[in-house]
Symmetry: C2
Subunit: 160 residues, 2 copies
């Protein structure tokens, strides 16, 4: 099994175990190629009065896509920590009338390096991520930005 395949399975388990609502949403960690994470959700449990996807489900899925990418970055660098979202914004540009996919791309390497350096130095760092939700035709239906904060226990704190 490739590293990415193992990563996506581990992420799926973590999401379903740690955030039970992700099971109600029907979330499936679908793909991670080392560059872009894709979370899939079916329309049925997330449907609204217009027979399209409920904005709250879209937002929750986008929130988890950014959380998941941050989790994968920590794992890739052998770090374990707690990740929370501090703020987010979302534009709902098109209704989503079918199953949907939330994609979160790795930020530029310099942003990742700055994030990891701050995390190792201070035990806490912030990462800004963009998530797009695509409809079945591949059009961008939702644009989401999230500011995530990761916390790790520093070596010095464990010893002290």
């Amino acid at each position: 099994m490739s590293i990415e395949r193992a990563d996506i399975r581990a992420l799926q388990d973590v999401l379903h175990h740690e955030i039970p609502l992700s099971q109600q949403i029907g979330l499936v960690a679908e793909d991670y190629d080392g560059e872009c994470l894709a979370l899939h959700a079916p329309l049925a449990p997330n449907i609204n009065h217009k027979s399209t996807a409920f904005a709250g489900s879209l937002n929750a899925t986008a929130t988890l896509a950014g959380w998941g990418l941050t989790w994968l970055l920590l794992r890739e660098h052998g770090l374990r920590g707690v990740i929370v979202i501090h703020e987010s914004s979302a534009r709902y540009e098109l209704p989503v009338a079918d199953d949907f996919v939330a994609t979160c791309r790795r930020p530029p390497e310099h942003a990742i390096e700055r994030f990891l350096a701050a995390l190792r130095r201070r035990g806490k760092a912030r990462l800004a991520l963009t998530v797009e939700i695509l409809d079945a035709a591949g059009r961008v239906a939702v644009v989401f930005t999230g500011s995530y904060v990761a916390f790790i226990e520093l070596e010095s704190e464990r010893q002290g």
Copy 2:
């Protein structure tokens, strides 16, 4: 039964019927006094890895509080229409370690009048709303703003 009491029961039915995920979230339309709508949700189905409320659940509940207040305003003025959210932002300021309540206050009367006038003239209008989520101690844990768009069928369109 007071008007507000009848309104809140009707809203509860609409939310559970039209947005099934609101049932998974355990959402209860708790109170509407004509000024402020309060939606309650239990922690258990919305819990996350830190034993606090999942940001996606908080966001979905806030989204529905703004949607609900818009629905109540239309109903109060004898209008029926479709309401969607166009954009939103959320700041997660404090973790929510217990059941929570999302409150959405009526905007100033001049904003409501402008919204209703545009709606009757063009069949479409936008309303900006703020939602706060309070933790069990009554502190503001999440500040959410949403831009909602309502659509109604105009008399002229029905006749034409």
